[in-house]
């Protein structure tokens, strides 16, 4: 068994009563492989023009709940909150970094040549596919790079401002959801376009 395979099957033993993330008893935990990339429905990402959140899983075995569950660590952001993954977030496993890169080797190579690291390459390959972008033309390349830089900038901000995100999500729950004012947050680089 390779190191990657043994990591994928692993689960950190935990007790929900001694765990640093709140497990919502009203939602159903999703059990996924450990340390794989997933796409998730996370409202603040969608609302702010980033699409689904791309994340890496961290799998736990909750011995006192007699079930497994996962945290999602956002990738493509400089830091990450640990999001508990619930089935209502519609997690889609996209595999390891190697699996993702194999989907579009030309896009991966283009991004590696521009010195994007492993996480950004993964986000780039996934988003290029969902946006219907290749890297054949300078225009496509520029659009992909612009999106990736935006993703990194905004996702980092979202991950490091949990209070603001929570309050924005509350407004969304009562039908008043709106994007953050990115032009104000990043005045030198953002126009506010989503």
């Amino acid at each position: 068994m390779t190191a990657s395979q043994s990591l994928a099957k692993m689960a950190v033993k935990a007790k929900a009563s001694a765990f640093g993330n709140y497990i919502d008893p009203e939602r159903m935990l999703a059990d996924l492989p450990n340390m794989v990339l997933v796409e998730l429905d996370v409202p603040e990402y969608e609302r702010n023009g980033l699409g689904g959140m791309v994340a890496k899983t961290l799998r736990y075995e909750f011995v006192d709940l007699n079930q497994h569950g996962c945290e999602a660590m956002s990738i493509g952001a400089e830091r990450s909150r640990a999001h508990m993954i619930y089935t209502d977030m519609k997690p889609v496993v996209v595999g390891t970094l190697k699996d993702v890169e194999a989907r579009a080797p030309d896009v991966a190579k283009f991004l590696m040549e521009r010195r994007y690291g492993p996480e950004m390459v993964a986000v780039g390959v996934l988003r290029a596919a969902s946006m219907g972008l290749g890297v054949a033309t300078a225009d496509e390349q520029a659009r992909l790079v612009a999106f990736l830089n935006k993703y990194h900038r905004r996702a980092t901000w979202l991950e490091t401002h949990p209070m603001d995100v929570r309050m924005a999500n509350m407004e969304a729950m009562i039908g008043e959801g709106a994007a953050f004012d990115w032009a104000r947050i990043f005045p030198t680089v953002e126009t506010g376009e989503l």
Binding site: Y22, M35, S80, H161
Partner: protein
Amino acid sequence: MDVKLDAADKASTRRELTLQELVIPDLQLMAASGKYDQNVLLWLQDAYVVRGMKDHFDELFAFHRDLATQTELTDDERWWCKVEFLGKITREVYDAEKINGDGARRPIEERYIDAARTFYQAESVVYAGQLEELAEYIKQALEAGVKPDLERFAREAYVSMSRMSDSVSKLEKLPNSNSQQMMKMMKQGIEAINYAVVATPGQPIPAGKMLLQIVNDIQKNPHRYIEFKQPQRTIRANPVSFEPARRNESAPELN
């Protein structure tokens, strides 16, 4: 912000928590005793913070709306109002559990060992995953004919290895820890990098070995290669307030 240095920065700052300081008196006392790891205590506290935000939804929403009307406050004052409010509801959730006696819950001092064990193991897994990912990335880059920036990735590998080593050391001191398995994972991660060797026409490039050599050089003099930051200074989010009520109402449509 350098978009390309994602893993190194993340590895050095760990997970993002809602509150960066302890607000629950019991946890503050534990921290003051010097016997407990503040990172674990903050992590344990975060579950109460998030639960507080859920359980006190209406109160939080009213607070948020009220704050939005206080236009005389500076952004920094606004930030601290939020921190104080979150601290209040966090303490309320914790105190209610302690007083009402959630049957399944032991005192927090007793739960600490379990929490610390989980925390250090989870940290170790994350760093092992980063080493694996780095090895895979280098291999893929070489196969694609792209020369990776070995010094940059060596810095990332060094940070992951040193963080993982720190977690394993702390794990070893706990009863019933799984430190041997974590140590094995770290070795596997390093070996994966070591074997990231791809033959280019006529000449093999031992990229993994070269990278580990640079890691050794970094280890001898880390400050020469890595800019260390004070976590408490870098981890706090920008105090500027951007609550939704102050957002631009004419935001363009999604594209």
